[in-house]
Symmetry: C2
Subunit: 439 residues, 2 copies
C-alpha cells in the first residue's frame, strides 16, 4: 500500500465486464452455444484479434469503426504496427482465413467462431465497443445446398430456447423474393427499393412511401404493391400464396418463393412464432443474395437485432480467385446478455463454481481435509478446502456468502465419520467422500 496518488479504477464506457456471479451465467451461455454448434458438427476457428489493415478494408466498408494499433513508444510515421487493426466482425477474418488456408480445409467448410470484436463507435444501449459475437457459416466451392439455409436458424432456435431467452422470433426473408417482386412491378432499381424498404421499422409506412416516390420515382400503384408485400408475415409456406395473390410475377420471384418455402417447410416442426417469414426485412447490405435472417426480442422491438445473417454469393473474393458462396448467421451474445441483465431477467446464484467447501477443523486435521477434497474432486465435484483452521462459524459463513451448496466436515477426531451439510435445507448427515452423491 503506497501513499502515492491513486489511479481511479473506472470502467471504460462501451467495454462491459461482469461480476463473478454474472460471469458464471455467461460461461454457461458460452458452453451452451458451443455445445449446440458442435452438436451439428461445426468446427471451431479462432483468428487473431488483429488483421492487416488492407485485409480489414478490402471491401472498403465500415472503415470508420476500425481501431488501429500503435505501439506506445513508436515514432510517428515509422511504425509498421500502424498497418494493423482490431477486427470489427468475424466475417472478414474468416474470409482471410479460408483464402489463406484454402488447400488445408475440407469443403463444405462448416465453422463456428466465438470471439470478441471491436468497433470504435459511440456506446449506447445494445451497442458496445468490445463485444462477443457467435458466428456460424457454411461455405463451399461454387455452390452451397439450400439445406443449410434451414439448418442455421434451427441451431439458433435450439440455442435461444436452451438459454431460456425471453420471447424472440427469428425473422426470415429472401432477397430474390424482394428483387423479383420489384422487377415484376417493372421497377428499374430493385436494389434501391430494397434499401428504402429496409427502413420501414425506422421511418414508418408514410416515410417509406415518400422516399419511394421522391428518390426512386415509383408510381402510387408500385408503392402500394411494395408496401403490401412488406406487410406480409407468416410462419409457414402459406406466405408464398399470400405473395402470389398480389398478382406480381417474375422468374426471380418464383425462384425466391421456392427457396423461402423450402426453408419454412424444413423448419415447420419448430414451435409457432419462433420462425417467422417477414417480407419487410431486407438486411440493408448488398452482400446478401438469397435467404436473410434477423432475430428480434418480441417485447423490445426497438432493441437491435439479436441475431442476423443470410446467404451470400462470395465470401473471399477479395483474397482468392475461387468462388466461395456461403450462408451464415451471427448471434449477438453480448447484446442479448447485457439486455437481459439490465432487465433483471438473468438468474444468478453462486459467485464461484464450487459444489463443496471442505472445512478445516484444526491444523492437525489438514491431511484428512486434503484427502477428502481429493476424493471428491476425483469424482467430479468442484471442491474448495478452507485455507486455515478458523472458527467453524466463519468457515461456514464463507460458503454461504459464495453460494457454495454443501459444506463437508472431515472427522474432528480419529474414528469419527465425515459429515456433510446441505446449505439449502440445513440437513447434516454422515457421508463417505468415496461414495457420497450430491442429492
Amino acid at each position: 500500500m503506497s501513499n502515492e496518488q491513486l489511479v481511479r479504477p473506472a470502467p471504460v464506457s462501451g467495454f462491459p465486464e461482469w461480476l463473478p456471479e454474472v460471469r458464471l451465467v455467461e460461461l454457461r451461455w458460452l458452453d451452451e452455444i458451443r455445445r449446440a454448434f458442435e452438436r451439428y458438427g461445426f468446427c471451431s476457428v479462432e483468428t487473431p484479434s488483429v488483421e492487416a489493415l488492407d485485409v480489414l478494408l478490402a471491401k472498403g466498408e465500415t472503415s470508420q469503426e476500425v481501431y488501429t494499433l500503435r505501439r506506445l513508444q513508436a515514432d510517428d510515421g515509422d511504425d509498421g504496427d500502424a498497418r494493423l487493426g482490431l477486427h470489427f466482425d468475424l466475417t472478414v477474418p474468416f474470409a482471410r482465413y479460408v483464402a489463406q488456408h484454402f488447400n488445408d480445409l475440407v469443403f463444405p467448410f462448416k465453422r463456428y467462431q466465438v470471439q470478441r470484436v471491436w468497433r470504435g463507435e459511440r456506446p449506447q444501449e445494445g451497442r458496445y465497443r468490445e463485444f462477443t459475437q457467435c458466428d456460424i457459416d457454411v461455405i463451399n466451392v461454387d455452390r452451397v445446398p439450400l439445406y443449410f439455409d434451414a439448418e442455421l436458424p434451427r441451431i439458433v432456435h435450439e440455442i435461444l430456447t436452451g438459454l431460456g431467452v425471453p420471447a424472440w422470433s427469428i425473422n426470415i426473408n429472401n432477397r430474390k423474393v424482394l428483387q423479383g417482386f420489384y422487377a415484376g412491378l417493372g421497377i428499374d432499381d430493385p436494389l434501391g427499393v430494397t434499401r428504402v424498404a429496409d427502413k420501414l421499422d425506422k421511418i414508418g409506412t408514410a416515410g417509406v412511401e415518400k422516399l419511394l416516390a421522391s428518390t426512386l420515382g415509383l408510381t402510387p400503384e408500385q408503392i402500394t404493391a411494395c408496401l403490401d408485400l412488406a406487410h406480409i408475415r407468416g410462419g409457414d409456406a402459406g406466405v408464398a400464396d399470400d405473395i402470389r395473390r398480389l398478382g406480381v410475377t417474375s422468374d426471380l420471384l418464383d425462384e425466391g418463393l421456392d427457396e423461402l418455402s423450402f426453408v419454412l417447410d424444413e423448419l415447420s416442426d419448430l414451435p409457432a412464432g419462433s420462425i417467422v417469414a417477414d417480407l419487410s426485412i431486407a438486411r440493408g447490405l448488398d452482400y446478401y443474395t438469397g435467404t436473410v435472417y434477423e432475430g428480434k426480442f418480441v417485447d423490445w422491438p426497438d432493441y437491435g437485432s439479436i441475431c442476423s445473417g443470410g446467404r451470400y454469393a462470395d465470401l473471399a473474393g477479395s483474397f482468392i480467385r475461387r468462388h466461395l458462396p456461403g450462408v451464415g448467421i451471427s448471434i449477438g451474445l453480448t447484446r442479448i446478455f447485457a439486455k437481459l441483465l439490465a432487465e433483471g431477467r438473468l438468474e444468478t446464484a453462486a459467485s464461484c463454481p464450487s459444489d463443496i467447501l471442505v472445512v478445516l477443523p484444526s491444523d492437525a486435521r489438514r491431511a484428512e481435509a486434503r484427502a477428502a477434497a481429493a476424493h471428491l474432486r476425483a469424482r467430479g465435484y468442484n471442491v474448495e478446502t478452507y485455507h486455515e483452521a478458523d472458527k467453524l462459524g466463519k468457515q461456514i459463513r464463507y460458503a454461504s456468502r459464495k453460494g457454495i451448496p454443501f459444506v463437508w466436515f472431515p472427522p474432528f477426531e480419529d474414528g469419527k465419520p465425515h459429515e456433510v451439510k446441505n446449505m439449502a435445507s440445513g440437513e447434516q448427515l454422515t457421508a463417505d467422500p468415496q461414495t457420497w452423491h450430491r442429492p
Copy 2:
C-alpha cells in the same frame, strides 16, 4: 468473384492461428485447464481487452510493449480513444477489477482468468504479440495463508500432467531465503544480488561472479557463498538442511526456510522431479516477496518459462487504499502449445467435432435422416447430416477426410433397419438411433 486486384491473405507475424484440427486440440487444452481451476473452486473473471492508459501504466513498467488504440478516422490530437490500450498481462486488469468491485467480492478472492494479451514486441520463438495466458490468483485483505502457495503449483501440476506436456518441472524458491541469506552474509544490497543471481542461466557462473564483484563490491567469500546457495536443488524439505549447512543465519532466512519447507512438505505426494526447489531462481521483478515459481521444459532448458508467478505484498495499491497481498501463477498456454506443435509433439486427429455423419440416401429420405440425427444429438452425440443426396461414396469420403469416426445409414427403403459403419474397423452393423452406443 471479382477481377479486382486481390489482397494477399497473409499471416501477421507474431499473431498465431491454427488449422481446425489443431484448434480442436487447443480447445481440449482450454477445457482441461478451466476444469482444473474450477475443480479447486476458482471463479472465472474476464476483463475487457482494453484499459485506460493510466491504469495500464499505473506502475510505470513495460510501457514500451503497450499497444494503444486509435480510431482509423480519428483526427490527430483529438481522439479520446488514444487514452486506451490493450492489456499486456492479466495482473494489471485484475488489480483494477478488484479495486473497482471491491465491495462486491468475497475474500479470500480466488479467481482464474484465461484471456489473450498483447505486447508490441518483436516476435521470436516462444514470444508472440498476441497470446493466451491462464492466470490464477488468490488475494485477501491484509493476509493470505501460506496454504495457497502450495495449492497453486498443485493445480498447475495437475494440468500439465493431464495435458501430457512432455518433461517439465515447476521450480520453486522463496525470496525471503535469498534476501535473508544475503543479509546474513553482511551484504548491504540483497536486492541487487538477487537481480544479478537471476542472470545465472544467461551469463553463467563466471559472469555472475564478475558482476557481483564489479557492480556490488562483494568479497570473494561472499561471492562463493552466493553461488553455493544458487547451486542448491532438491525435491523435498531436505534443501533447507543443505542451505543451513552453508552456515549463514538471519531471522529472515529462517522465516523463508520455514515457508519453503511448508510448501515442499505440502507437495511431497507429487511425483519426484515435478516440483523442485531451485535456489537459483529469483524472478527478477521486485514485485515478489516470498514464494516464487518458474516452470521449464526439461528438454528445452533455453526455451522461456512455461509458467511463472509468486507471492506479492500488494496487488492493487495503485488503485485502492486497501492492503491486498496475494499469490498467483500464470500458465503460458500459447508458448507451451506452439512449442509442442513445432516439435511435432501434439497429436491431432479429426478436423471437426462430429462423432457421426448421417448420410442422405435420396431426397425422399430427408425426413428419416433428420430424425436419426435428432435422436442421436438428443443422446449427446455430435452429428452432421450430409447436405444432399450425393453418391454414397462421396458422402463417405467426406466423413473420412474430416476424420468423422462413424457413418450412419438411415433406411434406404421403408421397413429396412438403420446401419452404422465404424470407419476405423470398417465394420458395418444394424443399429437403432434411439439406443445405439458408441463402442
